[in-house]
């Protein structure tokens, strides 16, 4: 009985000690080799492969640093304007089902208007994202739920006045110039 209590007390002390160590935060990533004893064969195999790669990289020759080097310049891509028939968007697919988009340039901003629906509810949605012309800053998306519309598609653009059509043929308007 006394031995059992002593063992449990030691384990308790060890747990508290480790918790205290864990509370001391560091910003360095934990090595991927820090696994538990119940890792499967595949985890061990992949860890070994990563370790082999790390050893190989550690032995590679080192180039001199060139902090004043200038990059090779190249032209930037031109953004498309108008309706773009793609559902690809920098938005989580688990949340949004995007049908297509409209793009325009307003002043010093690229503006993208995405149409579609909420993935789970099917509620129609319009999402607006802006990015500076130089690409260095981007605003958080603004989400406009369109109640009682269902999935939307941008079907016409007259200047920045957009027409969106529902799957049942209904139409709603969206004024991109007010953004």
């Amino acid at each position: 009985m006394k031995r059992t209590i002593a063992r449990i007390s030691l384990l308790a002390l060890a747990t508290v000690a480790l918790a205290a160590c864990g509370a001391g935060h560091g910003s360095a990533p934990i090595p991927s080799q820090m696994h538990t004893s119940n890792d499967g064969a595949l985890a061990q195999e992949k860890a070994a492969a990563l370790h082999t790669e790390e050893v190989a990289h550690a032995g590679m020759w080192r180039s001199a640093k060139a902090p004043h080097a200038l990059p090779v310049s190249a032209p930037s891509e031109t953004w498309k304007s108008g309706i773009v028939e793609t559902g690809q968007a920098p938005l989580p697919g688990a949340l949004y089902d995007i049908t297509n988009q409209y793009q325009t340039t307003l002043g010093d901003r690229h503006v993208s208007v995405f149409a579609g629906s909420m993935r789970e509810s099917g509620t129609g949605v319009v999402i607006v994202m802006e990015k500076s012309i130089d690409g260095k800053t981007a605003s958080a998306p603004v989400v406009y739920p369109m109640a009682r519309t269902g999935r939307l598609r941008i079907t016409a653009a007259s200047g920045q006045q957009l027409t969106l059509t529902t799957e049942r043929g209904g139409r709603v308007g969206f004024d991109a110039s007010r953004l």
Binding site: A58, A74, T86, L95, R119, P141
Partner: protein, 301 residues
């Protein structure tokens, strides 16, 4: 009293393991939705990270697979075709910038990313992507960057975007082209505990592309503040621990979208996203695993 003591004696090792694996979220790197392959822009992005002496995984998401006279992607925003050659040149510039501007210690794992979105997710594209990553690896070696840089592939594999069969064909082709890791920074949409997975996928299918394939590593998006995505991936890890002969999956890290998205409930900070999943994994001895990386994706280039 003896029974109580025995129960405590059994509980402590599990607590000990979870405590040993508990650690603060690593500092998050900046990943990017790419609207450009401009070498100056990418050099400056790499230099910025190097100057800050940051280590970790950076995923440059170049958009959905595409074919236009050759393989490539459709960039975000610009919605223009970017060839594999232009993506390679841009990524190499990022590697140059990081090397030239960094001190001798930080380590970059640069992952060139695409997705399983759209009609051009093919085995040919998977092969091309694997060859791209292999070419970047050769560049790192030739240029003498290897002590601080690694090349990786990445795919935002979202269950709603395409079928398991189509996605698997891409992954298999990538695996045949290279041995370099492939990060899955996608989702487990609709999977347990919320359902039986979206779009005809199963947990076994998701395991297959995100971990079972020889090069694959899960690096999931953990956006939702209500913990739903963390719960899905905990359940995926549990599935692997209980059902897969090769054992539980090793989740490398988490991606959040805090810088890019003020989408209501999908705005975990990097630390929140990491901690959610880490706590879920460590709360069960069958899934306990110490993740290594955190990255947050932005729309800015």
């Amino acid at each position: 009293m003896v029974r109580l003591l025995r129960a405590l004696a059994l509980a402590f090792p599990a607590a000990l393991m979870a405590t040993a694996l508990a650690h603060a979220a690593p500092a998050a790197t900046t990943s990017r939705y790419m609207s450009t392959t401009n070498t100056t822009t990418l050099y400056n992005e790499g230099c910025s990270m190097g100057s800050a002496a940051q280590s970790g995984v950076v995923i440059l998401d170049f958009g959905e697979p595409w074919y236009s006279g050759g393989y490539g992607t459709i960039l975000y925003g610009a919605n223009s075709f970017a060839s594999i050659a232009s993506i390679q040149a841009g990524a190499q510039s990022f590697l140059d910038g990081f090397w030239n501007c960094s001190p001798s210690t930080p380590v970059l794992r640069l992952a060139v990313g695409t997705s399983n979105y759209g009609s051009q997710v093919t085995s040919g594209h998977g092969t091309a992507w694997g060859n791209l990553v292999a070419a970047l690896n050769s560049y790192i070696s030739t240029k003498g960057y290897g002590s601080q840089e690694y090349a990786r592939g990445a795919n935002d594999m979202e269950l709603s975007w395409n079928s398991y069969a189509t996605t698997k064909a891409w992954v298999d082709a990538y695996n045949a082209a290279t041995t370099l890791p492939l990060y899955d920074y996608g989702d487990a949409g609709g999977c347990p505990p919320y359902g039986s997975c979206n779009n005809g996928w199963t947990q076994a299918d998701l395991y297959d592309v995100s971990w079972g394939a020889k090069d694959s590593y899960p690096f999931p998006e953990i956006y939702t503040t209500n913990g739903s995505q963390a719960s899905e991936w905990y359940n995926e890890s549990l599935f692997s621990a209980l059902n897969e002969p090769a054992g539980k999956m090793g989740i490398l890290g988490t991606m959040t979208q805090y810088a890019a998205c003020g989408c209501g409930s999908s705005t975990n900070t990097p630390a929140q996203g990491f901690d959610q999943l880490q706590n879920d994994l460590n709360g069960d001895s069958r899934t306990a695993y110490a993740m290594s990386y955190s990255t947050d994706i932005t729309y800015a280039n």
